[in-house]
């Protein structure tokens, strides 16, 4: 049972890790959330609640856990960063900007987005879920998901454009 579970779910580890990491800043909390996701999934697995789509199932468990964690953490001031770190200088073209912006800058900019936008972007852009699948996982209507993703992407592009401009000036 253990081997079967790991064989089915370990390919989802990058997905679960990326989701937890985009939603929560504290690296220890990320590890805890990933482990908790697997523990909960294993409990369900041993109760013979096998999902048809393992990826969506793991993402749903992880997202629910991170949401609970964020609710608790909000009372302990686990808030988004107020600055964008990393990166050097450059123009606004995405390819050039990407080369020069460190991944830390992109991560920091992602944290500037609302929780809903981050979740939708992480599921669709980082993990390749469709809008329909993302709607299922987040429990939001599909048009709302599309709107969150689009607004989040625009904000992300604007934040990093600003970051590049500020770096250029300094």
């Amino acid at each position: 049972m253990h081997d079967e579970f790991l064989q089915e779910t370990l390919p989802c580890l990058d997905l679960v890790y990326n989701l937890a990491r985009r939603m929560v800043r504290d690296p220890h909390a990320v590890e805890d959330l990933v482990q908790e996701t697997y523990t909960r999934a294993f409990e369900a697995w041993t109760s013979h609640r096998r999902p048809r789509n393992v990826e969506s199932w793991m993402a749903t468990i992880c997202l629910n856990l991170t949401r609970s964690w964020l609710r608790k953490a909000s009372t302990h001031r686990e808030l988004p960063t107020d600055e964008i770190v990393g990166g050097t200088s450059g123009a606004t073209a995405e390819s050039e900007a990407l080369q020069r912006l460190g991944s830390d800058a992109v991560h920091a900019a992602l944290r500037e987005l609302s929780e809903e936008q981050r979740a939708a972007i992480t599921l669709m852009d980082l993990n390749g879920f469709t809008a329909k699948e993302t709607a299922r996982i987040t429990g939001a209507p599909r048009n709302t998901v599309l709107s969150r993703v689009h607004r989040g992407r625009k904000r992300l592009a604007s934040l990093l454009e600003k970051k590049v401009t500020i770096d250029d000036e300094t």
């Binding site: 590890e31 469709t130 299922r136 992407r153």
Partner: protein, 229 residues
């Protein structure tokens, strides 16, 4: 594209939610519309940036997960004595033989494909004309698709409620096969089943229909509104 709303249109375009015709019209439109062009460009740029931040999970975490799962006991299992181990081995062998003898066949291929379609890995194409009402109670029609599943021609109407529950109605000109585990009504004209939290309801009249959803109340609502029996 019925209304000039650059943000909405760009999100539908980038989300791949436009039919072929609407997509071609929008591609023509953005060439001359600065606002729509900028919306699409910003959206694309943001998507590229987001995609660039994808990471691999650290190897230590992978190992940690393996160890954690391996150390998690199966429910109701304590330490096992040698005597119990022998009994257990014998009963496992008997159970294995019994399971093999009464092993149920998998779901019919049509049901598997429709469940995969409902789950989001769309098997059927968008862009068909709606033949069912746009509103069923609090369910709103989101999309219509059409396609073939094995030998069946299927039209799909996908609804969602304000809470995000999705109910999908599959209709065909021939009967849907029975899902494994289905419970039939007394008249044998309808059946229903719950599979891993997904509810399915099938009826032959007035049109062979299969309703799939994750919320039983909404599935019942759609079934009643469509007067399936």
């Amino acid at each position: 594209m019925t209304k000039h709303d650059p943000e909405r249109n760009a999100s539908l375009f980038l989300g791949g939610m436009m039919s072929g015709r609407a997509r071609r019209r929008f591609e023509q439109h953005i060439i001359g519309c600065e606002n729509c062009w900028r919306e699409v460009e910003l959206g694309r740029r943001g998507r590229t940036l987001a995609e660039s931040s994808r990471e691999l999970a650290p190897q230590e975490l992978r190992e940690m997960i393996r160890s954690t799962v391996a150390a998690t006991p199966l429910p109701g299992r304590g330490p096992i004595s040698r005597k119990r181990l022998g009994v257990l081995a014998a009963s496992t062998a008997v159970a294995f033989v019994l399971a093999f003898v009464v092993l149920q066949p998998p779901q019919p291929q049509e049901i598997e494909v429709l469940l995969a379609d409902y789950d989001g890995s769309e098997q059927l194409h968008r862009g068909a004309r709606a033949t069912l009402p746009p509103i069923l109670g609090d369910l709103k029609l989101e999309e219509v698709r059409r396609g073939r599943v094995e030998e069946m021609s299927v039209v799909v109407h996908e609804y969602s409620d304000p809470a995000g529950h999705v109910v999908t109605v599959y209709q065909s000109d021939s009967r849907f096969p029975d899902a494994r585990g289905a419970e039939h009504s007394a008249s044998m004209a309808t059946w229903s089943v719950r599979l891993n939290g997904t509810v399915m309801f099938c009826a032959d009249e007035p049109v062979p229909s299969l309703v799939i959803g994750d919320d039983e109340r909404e599935v019942r609502l759609a079934t009643a509104e469509l007067e399936l029996r």
